[in-house]
Symmetry: C2
Subunit: 390 residues, 2 copies
Amino acid sequence: MLDISNRAKKYKGSPIRRISSMLEKAGNNKKIISFGGGAPSLAPPQEIIKYVEKKLEKEPQKSVAYTSTPGPTHTRKLISEDLKKEEKIDIPTDNITLTVGGTEALYSTFQTIINPGDEIITTDPCYLGYTEPIKLARGKQVRIPTYWHENFQIKEERLKEAITKKTKAMILISPDNPTGATQETKNLKAIVEICEDKKIWLITDDIYKNIVFEEKFTNSRKFGGYENTISLSSFSKSASIPGVRIGYAYGPKQVINKISELKQATSLTAPKLATLFVDKFLENKGKIKKKYLSKIVVPTYKRRRNHMKKMLKKYTDLEFAVPKGAFYYFINIGKEDEKFSNKLLEKNVVVIPGKYFGNNGKKHIRLTFVSEPKNRIEEGIKVIGEELKK
Amino acid sequence: MLDISNRAKKYKGSPIRRISSMLEKAGNNKKIISFGGGAPSLAPPQEIIKYVEKKLEKEPQKSVAYTSTPGPTHTRKLISEDLKKEEKIDIPTDNITLTVGGTEALYSTFQTIINPGDEIITTDPCYLGYTEPIKLARGKQVRIPTYWHENFQIKEERLKEAITKKTKAMILISPDNPTGATQETKNLKAIVEICEDKKIWLITDDIYKNIVFEEKFTNSRKFGGYENTISLSSFSKSASIPGVRIGYAYGPKQVINKISELKQATSLTAPKLATLFVDKFLENKGKIKKKYLSKIVVPTYKRRRNHMKKMLKKYTDLEFAVPKGAFYYFINIGKEDEKFSNKLLEKNVVVIPGKYFGNNGKKHIRLTFVSEPKNRIEEGIKVIGEELKK
């Protein structure tokens, strides 16, 4: 084969995607208990499915036509209204662009703000989907440790220490993947103030904002930063529609315009069909969204979280932080994590080795409670307990 | 606002997207006759719409679930079979990845093969969607002129002259945008041989392969190049579903794997919902596709092409090449094209200035016959005729 680019030689696939691909090939092997990937196991709201069906029936052509690159004004207006209503922030429609899930939002944000050598601060452990797009924008990921015994809080001093002249941005994700942690108000406020003071971009990854078990999500703009904050989210988790691939980014208009220009080269236009799901989900002041989240998503995942906690207490001696949002436990198991995960895999239980999320994730495993019902959670944790005792 | 990346400062939005966005804002202004954007004006095949409706109804969760990054094996297998049946080429399923339309396929191909300074050969005029992603991969676009009075054929000598030590790839698009030209067999053969001989990648953009009026599309692999050809296509034009955003790339397995790794960072996974459209379109040996193309798409566009030709003869003295595929006329009007296009816009007729497609496109305009029915084609060409006489 002819030579590929040096850039491509350094591409690195995500080990989680590898596991997903493996599971897909395994097909409907019911024996496998997955605490692995973060795929919602709930059906999406019936109303939005029905709506899209009807739209396809009544306006087939319009439903699958091109739209503008940032997406239909109507859809972005609904998002603007939702942000106003739910998070008390004022984001004009033109400051919002739709994206192919949260992933395109992240990728295009990094491409749009990072120069070669710029440093981007993340936590350690952190979502492994940041590493590759930061590298592709030729930035350098700088990690600040968080610990389970501190509830994975971002400590002000550690953040300040990590900032150098080359720091271009910091990523805040709360609720967090892989830890399920939410940042306390005083930390959020400190982060916003430090970013404003040091003139660095604050990228808030609000993918899990609707999945919170104790307190309501706080948009960091409550404490300022309208001019240096870029936020992103998606409907994959909140509406349980990850295969529709629809998300959004918002921030200062100039940067959103730039993201939209890049988007012309990466995906051309917003996916019109996908925007219909959003339209229904958010219409009538988010009536369907509110009902779906409060009656189905949050209670279901909360029950599973609680059940997993109970099972972890029952079958293991582990100590751990209980997640306040998202759908992950990140647990120190006190032994090498990848080998341990491979052993579990032999017993048909999938967990993700903590080291995939950073050096500070070594000897941890990530367990999601999004995919399996209660009885299978017990079954899987029991296997983990047995394996730990070996 | 804080500083953005130098890369982003150089982003350049497509002028065509700007026109689309303007038209979207103008809403349903029926007065505007658009010979501008390449949006199909046909309804997609009823069968695939019904199929997706039914899938959403019967398997809502599964229809919008995550899938693997390259996409469901089933869908890729159908594409492999379609390539075998229609184009007589053998492409294993694992050599295919689904993409967000043709655009993501192009972007990720360029990122995956281009090193800074590498030269990529295109024609002049050429599709303006190549320029930005080549630049984003830090490549250099090198253009070889084609002319209407040569039916926009790529001349072997000009291609050979353009090749230097830095040439990394050549892009072949036949049928072509903006000219509607198809390359003659002897030219295709010469291109394949030159690329193999000079060890450069051949990227075939087969977006319009199903929209041909005289002869069947010829896959360049008929003449070799399995090891150095990367091809892409999409269902936007063939199934009239541009807002679904589904396309694919195929080529040597190693390069497709690399594209797929990049895809994890740009769009995470194939859009499951979108793959359902493809499944139905291609099932049963492409029965629906075949019927839709032969009974609706090709005859409709052919009638409009012929009608536009007739109207151009009736209302103007212009000489031009008649397109053999795709849905564009690219016509030398003998005067400055952007001003002329702006004047037409005042009269509610949209055409695209030829210079957007390259220096050799100056004094040309691109007219698409995809969007308007026959009576409106006459109306619009009449306005063009009047304006030309001024």
